[in-house]
Amino acid sequence: MKSSISHSRSESVISGIIKIAGYSAIIFVSLIFVFLLRSGLPTLREVNFESLFGSRWYPIEDFFGLIPLIGGTLIVTIGAAIIAIPFGIGTAIYIAEIAPRSVREFLKPLVEVLGGLPSVVLGFIGFLILAPYLRRLLLLNTGLSALTGSLLLAAISLPTIVSIAEDALDAVPQSYRDAALALGATDWQTIWRVTLPAAKSGVVTAVMLGIGRAIGETMTVMMVTGNAAVIPRGLSALFSPARTMTATIAAEMGEVATDSVHYHVLFFIGIVLFVISLLINVIASAVIFRQKKRSERILS
């Protein structure tokens, strides 16, 4: 009797602590968001709209055009996504569905170790080896280009995509595959028509987290993309230098005087970055949600 009372008391203490931990995460995130808004929104008052959407970023002379930075982030991130998504999902399918058990137990941890590689190390490899190599291979003016950034960002987001997509594929019940194979489907048909659609929401989450990793990455892009604030025009922009929003914040935040216009604009870039990644997430979850509804409709 006595022990059960103390038991329930300790239970309530523990659940209280967990509750505080859970709420504190929400509180911290909203405090960060409030801070971001408070530091970034004065931009709209201090810099006029025309200048903010101008084509020139040169903050020490009060040129605050964000278009080249947004363009730079998009081109580097899209490049990385185009490379990382097929390779990532392909690797996940290989590890989860095709590889023999021994290979699989070796590959999965290996990929996860890759995810722990510090990005500054990849940056060094990028500007010392990859950039010169790409310049010679593709006859570019300089190897410090959006493409080099995309390749390295793909390498950074691959472990995330592979690891989560593999987990999702692994969670698909074996009976699905057995049923498909029993109906006479080939291995490939089973993977493409049964396993992958069944694991879809997990795979999309994997891709989203991978892209999130790429869009937020700073150190590597700063070292290898050349950081020239040029508005990307057409496909050739992938082979020229680009300046991303994250690299801009990282390169300039150390120098800037607190509460100056430049300081507010850097936080405003943070808001833009936040909105872009929010949009990506909302669109992705909307896609998953809509398709789930349709399948429910068919089933009912």
Binding site: S55, R56, W57, Y58, P59, I60, E61, F63, P68, F127, L128, A131, P132, R135, N141, T142, G143, L144, M222, M223, G226, N227, A228, A229, V230, S240, P241, R243, A251, E252, G254, E255, V256, A257
Partner: protein, 305 residues
Amino acid sequence: MIGNIISSMKIVNELFLFVLVFCLTACGYNSTISESNTSASEISYIENKGSDTIVNLALAWAEAYQKSHPNINISVTGGGSGTGISALINGTTDIANASRQIKPEEIDAIQETGVVPIEYVIARDAIAVIVHLDNPIDQLTLQQISDIYSGKINNWYEIGGEDRPIVRLSRETNSGTHVYFLEEVLRLGDKTNNTLFSPDTLLLPSSEVISAEIRDNPNAIGYDGLGYVTDDMKVVAVAIDNQHPPVIPSIDSVNDDTYPISRNLYMYTAGEPPEIMKNYLNWVMSQEAQSIVIDLGFVPLANNQ
């Protein structure tokens, strides 16, 4: 059954590890506290922060000075001239290193805290214009360099070189070297001139990235402190204009002021420094410390004084 035993062994192992780590960190924590208590009265700390151009020099000075003065601990960090002066304003550093002179608004900010900034010229520096070893260009005028960086000249053949596109390399805008190059070279020292870097100029975060690209890429032109130039790149001779002869940067040509892109390097303190810092700053200007300046590729003051 076997699985259960293995997993419970795992838990025991993890617990053991946890306790071990906890003990180690706890012990370590105790020992550092007692250490700092006993030594606080003996060791004085000097925080020294700022220009990335000066950081290696400041480190070499700090090391040499600590050897002869074991009771003084100087910690040197980089981050850029502006970062150093901001830190001086915030009171998070004792001495700020700067590769440019302090700006009026920064002086105001320090004066708001009730003291005046004090300036020390600690060495001289020249900015070298560098290209790939295979580039046939040997000399440029300031006007030509300005035209290259502002985007008026886009191919090496326009100034007598090979038919290659020019790739312009620069330090980031937070670097004192960048601002100095903008004012003295791109704008030729003319305050009313508002020429800007061409938007496709590569802004690189460190000297290391600039060096790597210059070594590898025959299209590239870059600039950096003379202290960072190595033998595997070509230093271009610079002429003030067509009437003056081009000059290669060297200790002599900087000290007799014939090389056009050279400047003073500074340290700043907020207000009159305490005895310990004053001794250090005096030592920095001494013959002994200035001989280290030469070793790092900068230009010593001693000859001028």
